[in-house]
Amino acid sequence: MGMAFSFILVVILILIVALGVLVPGLQYFFAVVVPYAALLTFLAGMVMRVLKWARAPVPFRIPTTTGQQRSLPWIKASALDNPSTTAGVIGRMALEILLFRSLFRNTRLELHQGSRLAYHWEKWLWLGALLFHWSMLLVVLRHLRFFTEPVPGFVTLLADLDGFFRFGLQGLYISGVTFLVAVTYLFLRRVLIPQLRYISLPADYIPLFLLLGIGSTGILMRYFYRVDVTAVKELTMGLVTLQPVVPDGLGMLFFIHLFLVSVLAAYFPFSKLVHMGGIFLSPTRNLPNDSRARRHINPWNYPVPVHTYEEYEEEFRDKMKLAGLPVEKEG
């Protein structure tokens, strides 16, 4: 149900832009207004989401440990998985953000021979996720060649490395292929594993279909139904220099690609994709486990009126004596 809904939604989006650009005058809307609005929504949405999280109180350490805590000197501590120092935390965050350490721990649970529980080694999700995210980063960085003039050296270097293999006379960007392969895997995984399919919502499928649409239009435009890239760069350079012009010769595929990217960017801060910013603010990952070494005082503490035992006894001593209760001080 969720899948059909998401698929139809993305098809409708494609139809909107495909029919829209045929209307004279609407090309400017899809090539200039929509991308600007999407960028603004993306930036403002991300900032607002992160500031909202920043306001949430995190007074104490939340040690979800996966390794030995630092303790007595003769017990070997796990400095990266259960760090007690800032450097260790930076290491743990780097592992998490760059290599998806938590996902690497993924296991699959199955019953064997009746009721014997077994945990399986399951690295495919980790591998697919790693492949997808790194490909996406490379693809995004390579696109800087459309947004800079002259193109910075590192973009050229990336494109040269990425385009090591040839497709006809053109460089074949490996990251483009691995991007599509990884998104397809992440999609098929949701469809083919019954438990996963059961818990999947439209919010899980929509980003996947958008990414599939963006990736496939990109590949089609580069290798099969080419568009005039000089015109494309005229448009993008016009956008980034705030002097937008819509040149002739922007193909239909390009408009679909741009519109889907804009939709994804605008949808980003309000969807699960916002984990891009959220990962930095995971309290279980970004706080050192030093609760036993340092005392953490809740900064939001306010003075609470207390009634100590001494004061209690002072108040009720006579009554306690009468009732035969033991008291600490006589009179």
Partner: protein, 130 residues
């Protein structure tokens, strides 16, 4: 908000990095490439028309050149029949450079703009600049 200075620093870094194309190009005028078609051979043409239509050549010239290469090198065919029925010799150096005789004024204009480095020149000789 005890960690706000780290979070806000991170946010600023994020926004600055993301808007890199905007501030690095700020104030510059976006000047599209101007490939120069003013060569003697083109001036002498009665009908100023490449082997195929301009829009096709702009988007698909790499495909055409690849087809030409495959036809000549692998099939041994040397005559290209264009969509309008005219015949051309499939040769980069003898046909293309006949008109587009300046690499810096023609090829490089867009290729540099888009940071594309075709490997034509690993086999072919660059035309002598007029």
């Amino acid at each position: 908000m005890r960690d706000s200075r780290y979070i806000i620093t991170g946010l600023i870094v994020f926004v600055v990095l993301l808007t890199f194309p905007l501030w690095s190009n700020a104030g510059k005028a976006a000047s599209p490439p101007q490939p120069n078609l003013d060569t003697p051979a083109i001036q002498n043409l009665e009908q100023k028309q490449c082997v195929e239509a301009t829009e096709y050549m702009r988007a698909d010239h790499m495909q055409l050149l690849e087809d030409w290469r495959n036809q000549v090198v692998r099939e041994g065919k040397r005559i290209y029949v264009a969509a309008n029925g005219k015949e051309y010799e499939m040769s980069l150096e003898n046909s293309c450079f006949e008109c587009h005789s300046s690499k810096t004024q023609f090829c490089d204009q867009c290729h540099n703009y888009l940071d594309v480095e075709p490997d034509c020149w690993t086999c072919h000789l660059e035309p002598k600049e007029p």
